[in-house]
């Protein structure tokens, strides 16, 4: 075990930090300058290491630590390097893994530059945990798919150029075998976006309605009826390493709150019950951090199979820990917990600076056990894939 990065990586970190310092001097960056910043970062190999140069990547040797160093330093700088999770995070690796060559050439470069924004069309009102029961359909008419139906929980839909999604194309096939994975343009007649307001008042998601929406026949990833398998590839990227530093930042926000809140006339951080709850949380946060370190280290060493079990637990564990932080934060704001989240709290997710930001965190944490694979589904996965328990009894459907 060796937790130091060593001189080579420390030098790399220094180099990255110098680069971010230069760009930070000009912050905030305009849309154009931001794109330029990412271009320069890519030229130096800081971004898109795993993506061939011909698609706009920097095509470097796999090095999880260099990736982690860049992520840490870029995050710390506040520079706009993270593009939409759906594009760079999901569709790009999916196309790299199983897309057609022309699809890669057409979609990846623009996505990496930030010109193409993507949204995701998976969930439906009747298909949440049981995603494979989705009913939005596409039928081939000549050289076009004609799409009808209704998707929900689509983030960034208004700002998107493209959507990737699952649609039922083989109505007679069994549930999982009847789905295809299609790409489509968002801005076209028949596609209607309706914002969906959250319980805290914020609007991050949409419903999308399809009324004879069209997309070319070859805008399909994988073969007809293989959409479920494609989505599994894709979801693998969605549920990637839950960053340990993110959880620590949230917890530090909570500590700050405990320092500036008062209980019985003294700082809450001196209140014995609060201290106890914070110290318990320190244990959970450190588990998140060290588990992240284990995963990073294993990935870097090509030993991912050694961390397959904790990877199954990332979502559930992260959800529970975030909920504990949010609940303690809500307690610490005391009577201000009667207030609604302010407009500014709804724009920044997890605002730790204001008391009403913590009211919002309390409400937002309600989504934790629901979104991106419910906690109960996670428990099934952990039990079945992690502990080798048999599948649930199912109705004979």
């Amino acid at each position: 075990m060796d937790l130091s990065f060593g001189p080579e990586y420390e030098a790399y970190r220094a180099e990255v930090r110098e680069f971010t310092a230069e760009w930070s001097a000009h912050a905030p960056l305009s849309h154009e300058r931001a794109a330029e910043f990412r271009d320069r970062a890519t030229e130096r190999g800081y971004l898109y290491r795993g993506i061939p140069k011909r698609y706009g990547g920097s095509e470097r040797e796999f090095d999880a630590f260099r990736e982690a160093i860049v992520a840490e330093e870029f995050d710390a700088s506040g520079l706009p390097w993270r593009l939409g999770a759906q594009g760079v995070g999901m569709i790009v690796p999916t196309l790299l893994e199983i897309g057609e060559e022309w699809q890669r050439e057409k979609f990846i470069p623009g996505t990496l530059r930030g010109d193409y924004v993507w949204c995701q069309g998976y969930s439906e009102p009747g298909a949440g945990s049981d995603l494979a029961s989705l009913r939005s359909s596409a039928r081939l008419e000549g050289d076009e798919w004609v799409i009808n139906g209704h998707k929900i929980w689509t983030s960034d839909a208004q700002d998107s150029n493209y959507m990737f999604g699952m649609f039922r194309t083989e109505p007679d096939a069994p549930k999982h075998a009847g789905i295809s994975y299609l790409l489509l343009e968002v801005d076209q007649p028949g596609l209607e976006i309706r914002p969906l307001r959250q319980i805290d008042g914020a609007v991050h998601f949409n419903e999308v309605f399809f009324d004879d929406v069209r997309t070319p026949a070859d805008w399909i990833v994988g073969k007809r009826g293989q959409g479920w398998q494609v989505a599994r590839v894709n979801l693998k990227y969605e549920r990637n390493l839950g960053g340990g530093s993110m959880m620590r930042r949230h917890f530090n926000g909570l500590l700050e709150l405990a320092r500036r809140s008062e209980i019985d006339g003294r700082p809450a951080i001196q209140d014995p019950v609060t201290r106890r709850r914070l110290a318990e949380l320190e244990g959970y946060v450190r588990c998140v951090e060290t588990t992240y370190m284990r995963q990073l280290s294993a990935t870097a060493n090509g030993e991912e199979q050694k961390v397959s079990l904790p990877i199954l637990m990332n979502k559930l564990y992260g959800t529970d820990t975030r909920e504990k932080i949010a609940r303690l934060g809500y307690d610490l704001v005391g009577s201000d917990g009667l207030r609604a989240p302010a407009e500014e709290d709804l724009k920044i997710q997890s605002n730790t600076e204001t008391v009403t930001g913590w009211v919002d965190q309390y409400l937002f944490s309600l989504a934790g056990p629901i979104a991106a694979g419910s906690s109960n589904i996670q428990r099934n996965i952990i039990g079945e894939r992690g502990l080798g328990l048999p599948r649930d009894l199912r109705s004979p459907s």
Binding site: G126, I199, G334, S335, L338, Y362, S374, S375, R394
Partner: protein, 359 residues
């Protein structure tokens, strides 16, 4: 010995339940919630007609002359129905005047409060989580109030506000009195409006209340919040049970998944056995005054905490839709937040339970 409800009490609950069902159909509640004022004059007037505004006001002053338990049972149904309106502050103002007002004050205010013609409220909280009388800092000197009160229910609407003052006094402030200013607070629970009250020499009249009156008002409020939480939590459990019976995933109602069933069973088991807590606290407030403060604190801490937990479970069991503004579950989630915080969070109440227990 009878630890249960009388037929009259069951009828009272039934009456309010039917009132809410007919006067506050789901779309109307939704509209009121979205609009955000927490008040509908017509609804208030109709609820006063069935007696909701004056349940505990003595009959000689035009009220129903009932006890705190009856009021708490009414609040259980208000909680069930998420009925928007100034019921809490109004009820506490009426109790305060009935308990501690002069004959003149009673005659002046109680009949109007009982009929709902006048709306009352109480101004108790101050900055830094102050709720207890001993910590009040608003000065009342030479007939004038100076200081600030936070989180006053329906401060803008109330015809009279009972303002808690240094040393546990209560002073009657009339609407729009010079030297008083109200700022609306954007509250998380849109079924109950809140305001901030700034007092710079506003004229007011003290209640010649016997010592301990303000504490009794706080205790009564805690009982009512406990009752409201019970009603709300139970309503959510029933709503969610119904949802899980109809929502299908994997080809079957999700209620057939054992983990769903057990989450609901656990939620119900956290709530149902706590019904007696608010019953007992309400009874003690009337009949066992020496036990009342601790019983009220216990009921408030326990029930509002459990109801908040249950509201989270019920959101989770609704899945994504439960997280949306358009899902009615949010009414009870946010009422649970209000109930848990208002009149002092569970943490503070539990410390009182320990203190009052002589621990």
């Amino acid at each position: 010995m009878h630890f249960g409800l009388t037929e009259e009490q069951e009828l009272l609950q039934q009456t309010i339940r039917e009132f809410a069902a007919s006067e506050l159909p789901a779309p109307k509640l939704r509209a009121l919630f979205d609009e955000g004022s927490g008040h509908d004059p017509g609804l208030w007037a109709k609820s006063a007609e069935i007696g909701l505004a004056g349940l505990t006001v003595p009959e000689s002053y035009g009220g129903a002359g009932l006890e705190l338990l009856d009021l708490a049972l009414a609040f259980e149904v208000l909680g069930e129905s998420a009925l928007p309106g100034p019921y809490l502050g109004h009820a506490l103002a009426a109790l305060a005047i009935a308990e501690g007002g002069s004959e003149d004050q009673k005659q002046r205010w109680l009949p109007r409060l009982a009929s709902g013609e006048a709306i009352g409220t109480v101004a108790l909280a101050e900055r830094n989580n102050v709720w207890e009388c001993a910590d009040w800092r608003v000065e009342f000197r030479d007939g004038a109030l100076a200081g600030e009160k936070e989180f006053v229910p329906y401060a803008q609407l109330a015809d009279l506000t009972l303002v808690g003052t240094v040393g546990g006094g209560l002073a009657v402030l009339e609407r729009d009195a010079e030297g008083s200013r109200v700022d609306a607070v954007d509250g998380v629970d849109r079924t109950r409006a809140l305001g901030r009250l700034e007092l710079t020499g506003a004229r007011a009249e003290a209640l010649p209340a016997p010592p301990g009156t303000a504490e009794r008002v706080l205790d009564a409020g805690r009982v009512l919040l406990a009752a409201d939480s019970f009603g709300g939590a139970w309503k959510l459990i029933e709503t969610t049970a119904e949802y899980t019976r109809t929502r299908e995933q994997f080809g079957t109602p999700i209620a057939q998944f054992q983990s769903v069933k057990h989450m609901l069973a656990d939620a119900a088991t956290e709530i149902e056995p706590a019904r007696g807590l608010f019953w007992y606290a309400a009874y003690a407030w009337e009949r066992l005054p020496e036990e009342s403060p601790r019983a009220a604190a216990t009921a408030k801490a326990h029930l509002t905490d459990r109801a908040a937990d249950v509201s989270r479970t019920c959101v989770e069991l609704h899945g994504g839709i439960g997280f949306t503004w358009e899902c009615d579950v949010q009414f009870w989630v946010k009422r649970a937040m209000f109930n848990r915080t208002f009149l002092g969070a569970p943490s503070a109440q539990l410390e009182r339970v320990a203190d009052l227990g002589g621990w």
